[in-house]
């Protein structure tokens, strides 16, 4: 990513800044889309809690990002970890961020929205059983210990970027980071009590399609903004974000037809996400035609993992590993084969004569999963030793919404009685009327 930017740029460009302000808002909106997508995939009694985990990421990941996460990811180009020079947003102001033509503050906010959605993604592995309090602590720590570190490796000039790994919009920190962390989280927290014994079905497939559509919409900012300007690479990534998921969708339709003789809606929602994830790392590096080929290819391993995972004992509930980990890995490796200097101006893949690029991509495809899995596993084991990560079977049967939030998603209100117990409610003070 850094190599795409001209080092000489020192002034803020208004056009670039305008686009990046919009792109930042688009990526923030993705977390809401993810919340709706996830809420549709769980049972009605857990749908609020599932949505709230995404909302929680908007709170804790944003704060941690401002306090230390951003600095550890983007201060300096040490191999493993950034410095603390930008902790508490020190030195983050209106002057352009090094190597870009946008204000440092916009760069910080844009990268922050990535940290938020990645943290929210991991919740998909533990929904319907993990307690809300421990999840808040987990999300806060994960956004620093896993996301910020991987972001430094791939985006902030860390060792992956130094050894030549190309990752346009986050195949390493966002997709492989969340996917393989989700696997570790599912293993530590354990399966839901009825997993493998009862069919635990999505309660609203329309929410799934709506959420997936919102994610695709936001992804134009996610990929299109990852060049930090309105240059060729951004335009290429933007258009590829339209092409790849379309091809993944059609491929998914065909596999669905061959396996079940019917094209499913939740399959389609999954395909949209798989396609968007696949093009995330490759967006600004491959030609539009190769992006369409990637859309077809990425569907195959992901469909296989989605179909195979429920037959195992691993209750990685919402298939973050398949839709993000595997798809992100496919995209990262795809760059090694089909990157094209004629389109990206940076590097060729194996197919265009540079086998070394494939090597750089494979290093990332190995290192990111190992770190994300290992660190998440240790983090949750330590948290689990300090506090129970999940409630009792009885609480799980009643549902997370009532147990943790005291609210229901589909409340009827019949027979509900207003409780006037607090003194503040008893004292009916006259309200001052506007003149």
């Amino acid at each position: 990513m850094t190599s795409l930017m001209s080092a000489a740029a020192t002034a803020v460009d208004t056009g670039d800044t305008a686009w990046m302000l919009v792109a930042t808002a688009l990526v923030m909106f993705m977390t809401i889309g993810l919340g709706i997508f996830y809420a549709g995939l769980v049972r009605a009694k857990n749908s609020l809690n599932t949505f709230m985990m995404c909302i929680a990421a908007l709170a804790v990941a944003t704060i941690m990002w401002a306090l230390v996460g951003y600095s550890l990811a983007f201060d300096g180009d040490a191999k493993i970890l950034g410095g603390l020079g930008h902790a508490f947003l020190s030195g983050v102001g209106f002057e352009p961020r090094d190597g870009t033509t946008i204000p440092h503050l916009v760069f910080f906010a844009f990268q922050g929205t990535f940290c938020i959605i990645t943290t929210a993604l991991v919740s998909g592995a533990v929904v319907e059983r993990m307690r809300f309090g421990p999840f808040l602590i987990f999300a806060a720590l994960w956004s620093v210990l896993v996301y910020a570190v991987l972001a430094h490796w791939a985006f902030g000039g860390g060792w992956l970027a130094q050894q030549g790994t190309l990752d346009f919009a986050g195949g390493v920190p966002v997709e492989m980071g969340s996917g393989f962390a989700a696997l570790a989280a599912a293993l530590v927290v354990g399966a839901r009590k009825d997993y493998g014994r009862q069919a635990l079905l999505p309660h609203n497939a329309v929410y799934c399609l709506l959420g997936a559509g919102m994610l695709w919409f936001g992804w134009f900012g996610f990929n299109g903004g990852s060049g930090f300007n309105t240059g060729n690479a951004s335009v290429l990534a933007f258009t590829n974000t339209l092409l790849t998921p379309a091809c993944t969708l059609l491929t998914w339709f065909i596999i669905d037809l061959l396996r079940n003789r019917q094209i499913t809606a939740i399959g389609a929602a999954t395909a949209i996400i798989v396609g968007c994830v696949g093009i995330t790392p490759a967006g600004g590096f491959v030609s539009p035609i190769w992006a369409m080929v990637l859309g077809v290819i990425v569907a195959l391993p992901c469909y296989f993992v989605v179909a195979w995972r429920p037959r195992t004992r691993v209750d990685e509930t919402l298939d973050v590993l398949a839709a993000h980990g595997v798809a992100g890995l496919t995209g990262i490796v795809f760059i090694g084969f089909f990157a094209q200097k004629g389109w990206n101006g940076v590097a060729d893949g194996l197919f265009y004569g540079d086998a070394g690029q494939l090597g750089s991509q494979l290093v990332a495809a190995l290192a990111a999963p190992v770190y994300a899995f290992g660190m998440t596993y240790v983090l949750l084991r330590v948290l689990g030793a300090l506090m129970p990560l999940r409630g009792t079977d009885k609480e799980e049967a009643i549902g997370m919404d009532i147990i943790h939030h005291g609210e229901e998603a589909y409340v009827t209100g019949e027979g509900a009685i207003l409780v006037i117990s607090e003194p503040s409610h008893d004292e009916r003070k006259p309200v001052k009327q506007p003149a």
């Binding site: 009825d194 009862q198 009885k394 049967a397 009643i398 549902g399 009532i402 005291g406 609210e407 229901e408 409340v411 009827t412 019949e414 027979g415 509900a416 009685i417 207003l418 409780v419 117990s421 607090e422």
Partner: protein, 117 residues
């Protein structure tokens, strides 16, 4: 012939289904109902407004059975629905005057015996 009406917790409905299946009781209907027994009221909060949920969600099974199936059906409802806490529900057994299977016009015991296959 009796009509066995069982009102159970929604989160135990799957256990009841499993118990009924094991008892070879295959014909029944099931509906979501709201009601109130002796259980404690659940307090929820909406925008700072505290609300006592007077009615709780239950699932109502209606099972028409021939006389020799009455006890197995009751046992299945009890074993599947029990948590030992207030709010597990009730079973009502009422006599049935006539049963007719609409498709064939079969009556009474023949009509409450589910066709296999």
């Amino acid at each position: 012939m009796k009509l066995v009406i069982g009102i159970v917790r929604p989160d135990k409905a799957n256990d009841v289904l499993e118990a009924l299946y094991r008892a070879e009781v295959r014909g029944f209907s099931m509906s979501r109902v709201q009601g109130h027994g002796g259980e404690l009221d659940r307090v929820e909060t909406y925008r700072g407004m505290r609300v006592k949920m007077g009615l709780s969600e239950k699932v109502r099974f209606e099972i028409a059975v021939s006389d020799e199936f009455v006890q197995p059906t009751i046992d299945a409802l009890c074993s599947g629905g029990q948590t030992d806490e207030v709010g597990d529900g009730k079973i009502f057994v009422v006599p049935l005057e006539r049963v007719v299977r609409i498709r064939t016009g079969e009556k009474d015991d023949l009509a409450v015996t589910p066709v296999s296959a």
